[in-house]
Amino acid sequence: MPTLKTYKTEAIVLKHIDLGEADRILTLYTPNQGKLRAVARGVRRMKSRLGGHVEPLINCSLMLSHGRALEVVSQGQTIESFLPIRNDLKLTVQALYLVELTDAFTSERIENYSVYKLLLDSLRLLAKVRNAEILFRYFELQLLGYVGYEPQLYKCLNCKATIEPVQNFFSTSGGGILCPNCAHTEPVVKPISVDALKVVRLLQRGDFITANRLRLSADLSRELERIMQGYIRYLLEREIKSTRFRDRLKREDTEIAADLGKF
């Protein structure tokens, strides 16, 4: 009988889909092999020892072996379960957004330790920070940098002039800033305010601590979201699906708040 080579790895479970009667295919993000897909057998049975360790959003330690098409999970142990996130609907949906972006911007078996670290740190932060919006922008800019889509924020994409502190333009098609004189040179541009550019630069440098101390106005926060969503949608050529439910929850919250205000 051929011996199956098993190996141990840490992983964050990005998602799962049901397979057959009681199995699931997991999409994992690992520190040394990047994204991997693995079969976890019997995990949908109530008595499965593995099931609770390989739910989405869990950081776990796994024993894997090479299967024919996919890896096979033989053992698993939770390292961090992010229970505060799991116990809160809004946080769960926000975490799924981070996970969905990671899945969308990475390919299987391409090592990218920075992405692993970013996702793990961001899940930890999500359970703690008071302003999740700035965490999303931080995550988006860092992730885009790690996978090769870092926007150019200091020199005009067209004339290469240093960007001045005036209203400039963000080009989704060009992936960076255009000065007012060159705004017409790319097909899809959005105005970007001086403040928004400052925040984006701060986040791109990776200074989450300083960024998290900022008190962004609702307008500035919306501007940043629109710019990043536009850029991401352009790069992926599709919507990030989990934003639909996230936005619905937000909308329902404002409606509930408005209803309460009436009394």
């Binding site: 397979l19 609770g52 739910e55 699906k241 639909r244 439910f245």
Partner: protein, 203 residues
């Protein structure tokens, strides 16, 4: 698709194709099933085909609980011995069978026909949630038991339903998230064990 089973006669390859569309059936199993059908007596094959047609023609969703039924409202919803003030919300019709087997629950059900799965783009509007809210509006419901699966999607769905139902003044409960019978404590994952502590009770 036809080319894939090109070596089989057309009616056979068509049958293989149909089996292949079923959940959990790969190309090999599909071929095995098709050749099995070829070998059984014609009467058996006819009875299978008729059974398939019959479920499509006679089974509808119960207009009250959304369960599959050949009688609308279904037998459970019509049963006056059951407690009509308690509704147990489940993901799929098969979950009703599991709850019924316990013999512990005497209330009514509501089948969502799925779960909220944000990453797949499946939201509240894709489930039978508005139908549940209609039942609330009709009145007489005192408790809703959320019995979705204890996984990420099931829990997200339960949390969403709780948001909708709590303001309506109805008692919302969920099944105890505890340790599975027959398991060893040392193998329990952190989430299950954590929830089991939350749900501990006097002995």
């Amino acid at each position: 698709m036809h080319l894939k089973y090109g070596s089989a006669a057309e009616p056979v390859s068509r049958l293989i194709e149909e089996f292949h569309k079923l959940p959990g059936i790969g190309p090999k199993s599909a071929a095995r099933l098709a050749y099995h059908i070829l070998r059984i007596p014609e009467s058996s094959a006819r009875s299978l085909a008729e059974a398939i047609i019959a479920v499509k023609e006679k089974i509808v969703l119960c207009s009250v609980c959304q369960n599959l039924t050949d009688n609308d409202p279904c037998a459970i919803c019509q049963d006056t011995d059951r407690d009509h003030s308690v509704i147990c919300v489940v993901e799929e019709p098969l979950d009703i069978l599991a709850v019924e087997r316990t013999g512990q629950f005497k209330g009514l059900f509501h089948v969502l026909h799925g779960v909220i799965s944000p990453m797949d783009g499946i939201g509240p509007d894709d489930l039978k949630i508005s139908e549940l809210l209609e039942r609330m509006k009709a009145g007489g419901v005192e408790e809703v038991i959320l019995a979705t699966n204890p996984n990420l999607e099931g829990e997200a769905t339960a949390m969403y339903l709780q948001r909708l139902l709590s303001p309506l003044g109805v008692r919302v409960t969920s099944l105890a998230r505890g340790l599975p019978v027959g398991g060893d404590l040392e193998y329990a994952d952190e989430i299950t064990l954590g929830r089991a502590f939350e749900g501990r009770r006097e002995v």
